[in-house]
Symmetry: D2
């Protein structure tokens, strides 16, 4: 267990095909590099990242919103019911050293914001962006062109749990 990096991969349950493909590739690449992956454990991007991790023989933990494992992705290595609803988004971020976000949704935005707020590196592939009152992008999130770039970026960044 010592020395691995823990990376949260987050994104919408209601995801586009491109987001699904990017999530699968990100999971596979992180697992190939020895990172432990944490996700929300349900459908869409969450399920795709678990499948990608599994394809590379890695370890993927799902922190589920409900009280049971019903509806959890079958590709998770470990599925942990929290019963916290969307409060679990904060725990997905807390459990990880860094975050990759794929695609846009308000749940995903909450996780990006909590990651930046708590000093965890956050890398986005596609999805939404935050701008200030003058329309300029707000600092804090690193934008990557594709999953490979995102994985390189996130593993190169200093972890909060050195």
């Amino acid at each position: 267990m010592s020395g691995e990096q823990y990376v949260a991969v987050v994104g919408p349950a209601d995801a586009s095909e491109a987001d699904i493909a990017a999530a699968y590739a990100t999971g596979a690449a992180l697992a190939a590099r020895g990172a432990v992956v944490i996700c929300g454990g349900m459908g869409g991007v969450m399920s795709a990242v678990a499948a990608g991790v599994r394809s590379a023989g890695g370890l993927c933990v799902g922190l589920l919103p409900g009280d049971s494992r019903e509806g959890a992705s079958p590709d998770l290595t470990v599925a942990l019911p929290t019963g916290l609803g969307e409060v679990r988004n904060a725990l997905v971020v807390r459990a990880a050293d860094a975050l990759v976000a794929i695609g846009g949704s308000w749940g995903t935005m909450s996780e990006i914001a909590l990651a930046v707020r708590s000093g965890r590196p956050a890398v986005a592939v596609g999805g939404w962006q935050v701008v200030d009152a003058s329309g300029s992008p707000v600092d804090g999130v690193i934008f990557a062109g594709d999953p490979g770039e995102a994985v390189e970026a996130v593993l190169a960044l200093p972890s909060t749990d050195a």
Copy 2:
């Protein structure tokens, strides 16, 4: 206790003078209308909204990030330590029927995102905005020109706890 609306007012600890003034005015106006106000209980916008609520004889609850009441705004009616760090942002949203955000920060953005995600009306006065990949504003947040407009908007909206 029956029939009141509970409104979370959120915003940065490190706030501008304009945000501080808007927070005070929002707190005073919500209290004058009989709403219970919930905030994060610390400095900046949080402290200013508590002072505004107090000026109008209202009730303001602070959900504090730490284990103790150290650093809590002296104007809170009730100060509740949670020991949850930024996880308490999710509880500030959860405890309220609707949200007013004043000013921009990543913590504030996490609360806006969790409010929209969970179906609670979210009204913003100034601050940051979320745009999609094409640069168009994403639906979900109502923008108000000033505190009076924000309070009218938030109290007119259907509450999630009818």
Copy 3:
């Protein structure tokens, strides 16, 4: 807000008439002494303590297990949905400086245990007791004969939030 003591009063939803009467008296006595009371916000002991606090013009906060205020005691001053289920038991303890337990149940026992675990004074009126392998009572909880004695004890004890 400065200087008050915050006392959690906990006990079963399915409570005896004696527990209900003790909870009401405890709430009234704490409010008369200026303490802010925190409870789980639902029926039985929780509802009775809120009614006692209200009878003495005090302030009672309910941290509710569900996502809404449905089923909350109408005598609460402030009713805060947490959506955390029994995880909110830990927050009831966390938010308070000390705890009074009235009557016995497993939920109540979890709150007593978390209070002692975290160094908060815990006073019990009736209810269950914890014994070690040899049958001897385990240190940590102060037993009071009646609500008046419990309130004296809990307000005399050093608070964790001095």
Copy 4:
């Protein structure tokens, strides 16, 4: 991931040699039977159960109280910081289908109580016991003579996540 049972094994950080040995044996036996083990991730019983699971090639998840993985048992398969302090006790219980408690402490008692409260089977090896006002043991916990008996009991019981 489908079909496994998830069992929380809990007990004091400050544990006796007998408790340490029992925790190791319990972890090894649960892993040998294919269960996923969840624990608090730190020292004493927590660390011993992780070592036992590892000795049998199983999977052990630690839900840590702090913000980082500092002090986590090196034998955990997955170490997840929660930053929740003792609130994480409630999540250790929530994530599992059933619970084995080894040894006595107030933290351990909080986990036993939350397990029984939420309908999860709870089996104790040694440790403390709860009695009612008349001194009679309160129903809810199954007492096992040794780790082997505890593991048989806990795996035979109907899970809450069928």
